[in-house]
C-alpha cells in the first residue's frame, strides 16, 4: 500500500507524521519511507542512525546540445520549444539548459540532426536503512527547477525496492511537485493545523486529491494550537479526520530537533490506529 502524506500549507507536520507512521509500520511489516520533498528533503533527519545502502544515484535529464557544424540555423528547434529555452537569432542558435525541461521535441524536429542529447544531472536519490525501516530520499540540486524529474526517479526507485507499505513524504503546495508526489498513491493523508491559513490551503489540496480520485483523510496536527475549526471544515467537505496530534510545548521543543517521539504512547497509539484503519481498507473508499 502506498500512503502519501501531503498538505497544501507547508510546515503543518507532513514529515513528522510520515516519519512516525513509517516507524510504527516498520515494527510489523516491510516499510519504506520515501522523501519526495526533493527541494527541502528532511525525512532522513529524523533517523540519524540511518546508514546509506549504496552510493547515491544521480538523476539526469537528457539535454540537447548543438553540433554547430550540422546546424543550418533554420530556427525550427526554437519555434518548437514551448519553454523559451532556445533562441535562434541572426543565424546563431543558443540553448538555455537552465530553462530546458528535456522534452526532446527540438531534437525530433531538427532536420539535420544537429542536436544531440546528453544527460545532465538534476539531483540524486539515496537509499538508506534505519533499523527495520528503509528510507529513500530524492534531492534536487540547488538552482535546478526540474523537481518533478527527481520525484519520478525516486518513485521508480521506491517501486524497485519493494515494500509492503510505502509512506511518501510529499512537498507542500498543489502544483506539479505535489501532483507528481500523490500520483499512484492508494491513499492521501492531508496534514492540517487549526489555523485559517491551513484551512484555506487544505481546501485546494482536497480539490486536488478529489480530482485525481484518491481516497483522502485528514490528520489534525498541533491540535489545540489555534481556534480555527478544521474538523468542522472536514465534516462539511465529507472528508474523514483519521487522527489527531495534540499541541504540547514540550512536543514542539523536541520536534524542533527532529527527534522522534518514540516513547510517547499517545503518538504511537495514534499512528498504529491510523495504519490499522488504512490497511484494513476502512475509510479508503473514494472520496466523492
Amino acid at each position: 500500500m502506498v500512503i502519501a502524506v501531503a498538505s497544501g500549507k507547508g510546515g503543518t507536520g507532513k514529515t513528522t507524521v510520515a516519519a512516525h507512521l513509517a516507524l510504527s509500520s516498520s515494527k510489523n511489516r516491510r516499510t519504506l519511507l520515501v522523501d519526495l520533498d526533493v527541494e527541502a528533503p528532511d525525512a532522513s533527519g529524523y533517523f540519524p542512525e540511518a546508514e546509506p545502502d549504496e552510493e547515491p544515484r544521480t538523476v539526469s535529464v537528457l539535454m540537447p546540445e548543438l553540433v554547430e557544424s550540422k546546424c543550418t540555423a533554420c530556427g525550427l528547434c526554437a519555434r518548437s520549444c514551448r519553454f523559451g529555452a532556445i533562441l535562434a537569432i541572426g543565424g546563431i542558435v543558443t540553448i538555455d539548459q537552465k530553462v530546458c525541461k528535456g522534452c526532446g521535441r527540438c531534437v525530433a524536429v531538427c532536420p539535420t540532426n544537429a542536436l544531440v542529447e546528453k544527460p545532465k544531472p538534476v539531483g540524486k536519490t539515496t537509499s538508506l536503512t534505519a533499523g527495520k525501516l528503509g528510507l529513500l530520499e530524492g534531492r534536487m540540486d540547488i538552482g535546478d527547477i526540474r523537481s518533478t524529474v527527481v520525484i519520478e526517479a525516486a518513485k521508480d526507485c521506491a517501486t524497485g525496492i519493494g515494500a509492503a507499505v510505502q509512506i511518501r513524504d510529499c512537498p507542500p503546495g498543489v502544483s506539479c511537485p505535489a501532483t507528481h508526489s500523490i500520483e499512484g498513491a492508494d491513499y492521501v493523508i492531508l496534514v492540517a493545523e487549526p489555523t485559517e491559513f491551513s484551512i484555506h490551503d487544505l481546501k485546494a489540496a482536497m480539490k486536488l486529491t478529489r480530482e485525481r480520485g484518491i481516497p483522502t483523510g485528514v490528520v489534525i496536527n498541533k491540535d489545540g494550537f489555534g481556534d480555527a475549526d478544521v474538523a468542522g471544515y472536514c465534516e462539511r467537505e465529507c472528508v474523514p479526520v483519521i487522527g489527531r496530534i495534540a499541541f504540547l510545548r514540550e512536543r514542539a521543543a523536541t520536534g524542533a530537533t527532529a527527534a522522534l517521539w518514540r516513547d510517547d504512547p499517545t503518538i504511537c497509539g495514534e499512528m498504529d490506529r491510523i495504519l490499522d484503519l488504512l490497511l484494513s481498507g476502512a475509510g479508503t473508499e473514494r472520496a466523492l
Binding site: G10, G11, E39, A40, L62, E183, D201, E211, A256
Partner: protein
C-alpha cells in the same frame, strides 16, 4: 522601486506572517505580492477586501481526441514525463493534464493528428485593497496546474506596474527552492531568509541561502520560533554566520502569535511577549530596505 522577497526553504517557517508584518512596518504605500500561488494566504494575513479579478491562462494544453486515436502508442513513447496513459477501455491513449508539461512532443509524433490543443483557465489574478491599507496582488492557481513559476512572474509584473519609483514591493515567496521560488527572488534587491529554529528549518534555509548566493542576491535573515531549543537557536546563528548572512533579529516562539491572523492584526501590531523582538527585527529589515532605496 525596491523589491524585498521573503523566503525560507521550509514551509511553515513564518514567511507570510513576517511578510505581512514587514508590509505593515513599511507603510501603506508598499505593495504586497503574494507569490505563494499554490497556497496564497496573503489575503487572510492582510484582510483583503473584494478585489479586481482577471483570468489566468497558462498557455496551450494538449488532449487526445479519442475517436481519432488509433492507439498506436507513438505519443506514449514520445512523452518524457509519463503523462500519457492508456485510456479506460484500452484501445486509445489519454493525457493526464496534471502530469503534462505542455511541451507538444506528442502532437508532433501522432500520425493521425488526434492530439488537439486547447486553452484552459488555470487560475485567477487579483488586485485587492486590504484592511491594513497596502495594495495586495495575489493569485489562485487551480489545484493540479503546472505553471506556478509563470503565475509568480505575472504577479510580480503586475505589482511592478502598480509601483511608483519610490514604492517597495514585498514578495511573499513559496516554500522550497524550485521554479516558483527562483521566479520569486529573481531580480529582488533583498532576500529575507526566514530560518525556523529547527533541524529541518536550518537545513532548508541553508539550501535557500546557497540558492540566493548563486543568484547573486543580497540576503538578510530572521530566525523564527527561537526559545524552544537553545541548541537549535545556536545552530541557526552559526549557519547564518558561516554563510555570511547578517541577522536582522530573532522572534521567540509564542503561541499567541498565531492568533494574529484571526484578529486582523499583523505581528507588527499584536501585543505579546515577543512584540519587542519582532519590531526590532522588522525595523532592521526596514532599515536595510531604506539603505537600498538610497544606494541601490
Amino acid at each position: 522601486m525596491t523589491t524585498v522577497s521573503i523566503a525560507s526553504g521550509k514551509g511553515g517557517a513564518g514567511k507570510t506572517s513576517i511578510s505581512a508584518a514587514l508590509a505593515s512596518t513599511l507603510g501603506t504605500s508598499c505593495i504586497f505580492a503574494d507569490c505563494d500561488v499554490d497556497a496564497a494566504n496573503g489575503a487572510i494575513a492582510l484582510g483583503a477586501m473584494a478585489g479586481v479579478a482577471e483570468p489566468y491562462f497558462a498557455g496551450l494544453g494538449f488532449s487526445i481526441d479519442s475517436p481519432a486515436c488509433t492507439g498506436c502508442g507513438a505519443c506514449h513513447e514520445a512523452c518524457r514525463f509519463g503523462a500519457i496513459e492508456p485510456a479506460p477501455g484500452g484501445d486509445a491513449f489519454r493525457i493526464v493534464p496534471e502530469l503534462c508539461e505542455r511541451c507538444g512532443a506528442c502532437a508532433d509524433r501522432c500520425p493521425v493528428k488526434a492530439i488537439v490543443r486547447y486553452e484552459k483557465q488555470a487560475g485567477e489574478l487579483f488586485v485587492s485593497n486590504t484592511r491594513h491599507g497596502m495594495t495586495l496582488v495575489h493569485a489562485d492557481l487551480e489545484p493540479g496546474e503546472d505553471t506556478s513559476g509563470k503565475l509568480v512572474a505575472l504577479v510580480r509584473k503586475r505589482a511592478e506596474k502598480l509601483a511608483g519609483p519610490d514604492s517597495v514591493i514585498v514578495v511573499d515567496a513559496p516554500p522550497g527552492i524550485g521554479c516558483p521560488v527562483i521566479a520569486s527572488i529573481t531580480g529582488s534587491d533583498l532576500v529575507v531568509i526566514v530560518v525556523e529554529a529547527s533541524a529541518s528549518g536550518i537545513r532548508d534555509a541553508a539550501r535557500l541561502a546557497e540558492l540566493a548566493m548563486t543568484m547573486k542576491r543580497r540576503s538578510i535573515a530572521i530566525i523564527n520560533k527561537t526559545g524552544l531549543n537553545a541548541g537549535m537557536d545556536d545552530r541557526a546563528r552559526s549557519m547564518l554566520a558561516g554563510a555570511g548572512i547578517p541577522l536582522a533579529g530573532e522572534i521567540p516562539f509564542d503561541p499567541k502569535l498565531r492568533s494574529a491572523e484571526e484578529s486582523n492584526r499583523t505581528w507588527a501590531d499584536i501585543d505579546c511577549r515577543s512584540t519587542g523582538r519582532i519590531r526590532a527585527a522588522l525595523d532592521a529589515v526596514a532599515g536595510a530596505v531604506r539603505k537600498l532605496k538610497e544606494k541601490p
